[in-house]
Amino acid sequence: MTLNLFPFILMPLIGAALCPFVGKLGHKYAERLSVFILLFGLLLAVLNIPVCAEYQTRVNGMLGPAWLAGDVFSLFSVVMIYMAALSVTVFSAFYKREDDRGALYYALLLASVAGMSGVALANDFFTLYVFVEVLAVCSFSLIAFQMKAESLEGAIKYLVISAPASLFIISGVSLLMLSTGSTSFASVLSASGGGDNPAVIIIMGVILCGFLLKSGLVPFHTWTPDAYQSAPAPVSALLSGIITKMAGVYAIIRIMMLLRVAHPQTTAAIGSALMLFGAASIIVGALAAMYQKDFKRMLAYSSISQVGYIVLAAGAATPLALAAAIFHFFNHATFKLTLFFNAGAVEKATGTTNITKLGGLENRMPWTSWTSVIAMLSTAGIPPFSGFWSKFLIITALWQAGFHGYAGLALAASVLTLGYFLILQSRVFFGNLPEELSGVKEVRAGLLLPGLCFAALMVAVGLYFPLIFSNFVEPAVVLFL
């Protein structure tokens, strides 16, 4: 029984092509079309999980036709993609004012979903490159959609870092082709079988450099705060929640998954470099976040920090560490989406994202405040929320693998995370309401709905963690062995 995952790319692609035409009938129809496609896709993906998990596949045993991966990680990524995109679409529907070009926005969103699904389903490094470029083009357009000078600036800064990164990836792919005769994932496993070929280190190193640039890790993070700050709130949410991660971190996790199986020494070498970058990102992100005056910019630095956690776990490359990295991937998507949605809600209600000008919104915007609190506590790793469990798994995995120093660092950084979020929460929501904001009211229900769903999800995942552990995490770990 083969699993055909191609519809996940085809549906949004067709939707993206149709949206501008449907939009001519009316702005609302384009929205409804995209919501419909994404909802359908999400249901399809979720229903496929039990089917996919039945297969006793090794992580490198890709299912389906030659160039479509079908393993659990891919399917899980597809679920995350659709979930994130659906929530952003719903949020955007209520956030944007009536706009002539609204249909193009939804079309771009669907195109980016198609690109991300392509990344998840790629079984080949070159295909990965092509779809990551699709994502890049969609991101530039989405960031700069409202064509303000700031947004264009953010998009340009992203472009200038992203283009050389792609070219690094291509150089790595050409070296891979030279060494093994083909560019697929499977060829990494067979590269000079058995022993540790120095070629593999060079090749993977070059390819990883490209992906590190794209994922916004330290010291390649300079574009991230600018891009997230200047994009409109739903776009920032999409970028931070899923696009940057699919474009960069997904590939990093895949590469570590592949290297682990065939080249233990290379894994150790590359893994330690990755852990260094991850640890640096955690610290720099957390420290820089404390000094920010803009809500979205602080969230951007927080993203850098959390992505550092994922890469730190991926670098350790033990089965538990990889499973923890994937779990954190999922959790981070939920928290960041909620937080960026709330930032958008605050911006819509008060007109500003400058923390120094905000305060005391707790009473006026209770729902926003509560979902923010839940998301922040979850990010900082406070029980009983889902974030606690993923951080716990990461720290445990690091400790078990012998990286005591890094485990301690991860733990200490959680305290920093809690610190800057408390600053944010107290400045924005607690405290006294300034004069100018006395007319502020809670935003419409539609804007709150995605945030509430994610908050409920965070609580549910946190409380039912033992169930999740035995049903999802353990099989994933077994898969990697």
Partner: protein, 106 residues
């Protein structure tokens, strides 16, 4: 592997490295945004050369050609999008100076 193939490969890769250096230098040192595009283009040429050099050494030139064609198609879209962004930025802010892009700080 025959010596000739290997030395050819090395020669090609040497030039790939030189071209990549020129491209990166151009991107980093330029103040005018359009010159950044020139840098990206030079880097693309280096990559195409790299792909085909590897393909030739491998013997499977057709695979390398196919990849190169796809890559060129992808690059042209990226360059078109980049130019569109720059032209719009010029329209909105009146300048193409990279050093003047400092609205986002912190």
């Amino acid at each position: 592997m025959s010596d000739l193939v290997l030395s050819n490969l090395l020669l090609n890769w040497y030039f790939v490295a030189l071209l990549a250096f020129v491209g990166l230098y151009c991107m980093v040192a330029s103040r005018n945004m359009l010159r950044i595009i020139v840098g990206i283009e030079i880097l693309s040429k280096a990559c195409i050369l790299a792909l085909l050099a590897c393909g030739q050494a491998l013997g499977n030139v057709n695979l390398a050609q196919t990849l190169a064609i796809t890559m060129i198609a992808v690059e042209v879209v990226v360059v078109a999008v980049a130019l569109a962004l720059f032209v719009k930025y010029y329209g909105v802010s009146g300048s193409l100076d990279v050093w003047k892009m400092n609205k986002l700080k912190g």
